[in-house]
């Protein structure tokens, strides 16, 4: 009689499990923030969380509304200026895991958060890259969290906001990058990894109860599945209760759904 995680919770929990005490994470708002703090409150109490607003080693008790939330600063070891954050900490190569998401992703884990349609005459103007272009190249590796959907997982990006694996294996190295780039894409239905030979995203694990067809239906390109396709272990009672408590505290603190 296990409690079932929602797809969104499963995404957060699957991401959290990938993190360790040794990681220094560059955290974005939303699912990455929930995943990092869930890891911190469960199996990785010593994980280091950094938000791009300048807060180093922060330990929020509730999830922040934005990267500028006072909670991040109040619970941080210290807070540095934004130029210092981008120079000494991100470009400085001090981050092990950078989290990214986006409006759109392609099969090589390149992301678009800039524009749908032509840049000069956009159909939808998205917020833009923010920290993503440099997060994508300076962190040792990148975890992407995104809910699946055929408008999000697309065959061709109209705009590359942040670089994943370009057009395939070797493209990162050709640009002189030594970081690993996206190594995991954690979705609400499954986990994907770049194929070791081609760098194309490949489904390696299906969340409990999810079928191959469901996953393919949420993706605009013909998906590859790993030969040995795993099932993501179900959320444990502890994972779920800690995550739900975190969300509850957050709602109570902010007076809104977080």
């Amino acid at each position: 009689m296990s409690i079932m995680a929602t797809p969104s919770e499963m995404m957060t929990i699957a991401a959290a499990r990938l993190l360790t005490d040794e990681d220094v994470c560059f955290v974005g708002i939303g699912a990455p923030s929930a995943a990092c703090n869930l890891a911190r409150l469960t199996h990785a109490p010593k994980i280091t969380l950094i938000y791009e607003s300048g807060t180093l080693s922060t330990r929020p008790s509730v999830l922040p509304l934005s990267i500028g939330d006072g909670e991040l600063c109040d619970t941080a070891l210290t807070t540095v200026s934004v130029p210092e954050m981008f120079r000494y900490w991100l470009q400085g190569g001090r981050i092990t895991i950078g989290f990214l998401g986006g409006a759109q992703i392609d099969r090589f884990a390149n992301l678009n958060t800039t524009v749908v349609g032509p840049y000069d005459a956009p159909k939808v103007r998205l917020p833009g890259g923010g920290g993503a272009p440099e997060i994508a190249i300076h962190c040792r590796e990148i975890f992407i969290t995104m809910a699946m959907g055929s408008r999000a997982f697309v065959e061709t990006l109209p705009f590359i906001t942040s670089f994943g694996h370009g057009t395939g294996k070797g493209d990162r190295a050709a640009l002189g990058l030594t970081s690993r780039g996206p190594t995991k894409v954690i979705t609400d239905l499954c986990v994907l990894e770049p194929d070791p030979e081609t760098a194309e995203l490949t489904v390696v694990s299906l969340h409990p109860g999810v079928t191959r067809d469901q996953v393919q239906a949420g993706c605009g390109w013909r998906l590859r599945f790993a030969t040995e396709l795993a099932e993501t272990p179900a959320a444990t009672a502890t994972e779920l209760s800690v995550l739900r408590d975190l969300h509850l505290r957050t709602r109570q603190a902010h007076g809104v759904a977080a």
Binding site: L65, G128, V256
Partner: protein, 285 residues
Amino acid sequence: MAEFLSLSAGIEAVLSDGCSVAMEGFTHLIPHAAGHEAIRQGRRRLTLIRMTPDLVYDQMIGMGLAEKLVFSWGGNPGVGSLHRFRDAVENGWPHPLEIEEHSHAAMANAYEAGAANLPFAVFRGYKGVDLPKVNKRIASVTCPYTGEVLATVPALRPDAAIIHALKADREGNVLLEGIVGVQKEAVLAARRSLVTVEEIVDDFGPRNANAVILPSWTVTAIAHVPGGAYPSYAQGYYKRANDFYIAWDAISRDRDSFRAWIKANVLEKGPDAFAQYAQTRREAA
């Protein structure tokens, strides 16, 4: 030395039609009251510069103050789109908006270079992405020692910087704490600057030897505007009014409801409105 002015006199002192202005605040201490005063004064053809343009820039863009936007992330943080910004870019309403788009790293480095009186900034960035194809201001230099090619951006040297800070002392020195963003760099990079503050104090009193302070002689004008960052937050004074950020999504989605809101809450109000907003938030906190 910084001059103490009213908010309206302060905005008049630093803003004129056609100038470039950086109203900075990295999701903290956002100078909302100053933005409203600029709207009331009807400034035009401004180049608005900010890493994270949000509600106040959405309002200024929607009211037609801006000719150009220099930015790296334009959204309603934690909520979604900036509808006035989108309407300007997608539909040219109320008039077309030129955009110069960067990444955060580029903008942060560009402010830093401006504060340091350098003509450009060098950083490792923009690899493999499309922004350099649409922004001709992104260039490169080659390291004279290693041969590595690095990205460059021109330094930001705004005509004016406007920020909100926590305290000023009677000499006009300004104290910031918490998430300090790029405000110090923006002020040092700008030709003139206005700082709105929560409080004016006789003396900062005992403080950390390395506190973030802008000396009086780096600031043009200071205006005492309690609550001036509302609905964003001011560390130690009040929290973000998140309900307003959420409400803004609906208000700003429609051109008429946007204009009605501006009329009632900006054009027909004055700087004093902010003291009251802050008071409400402080009580709620």
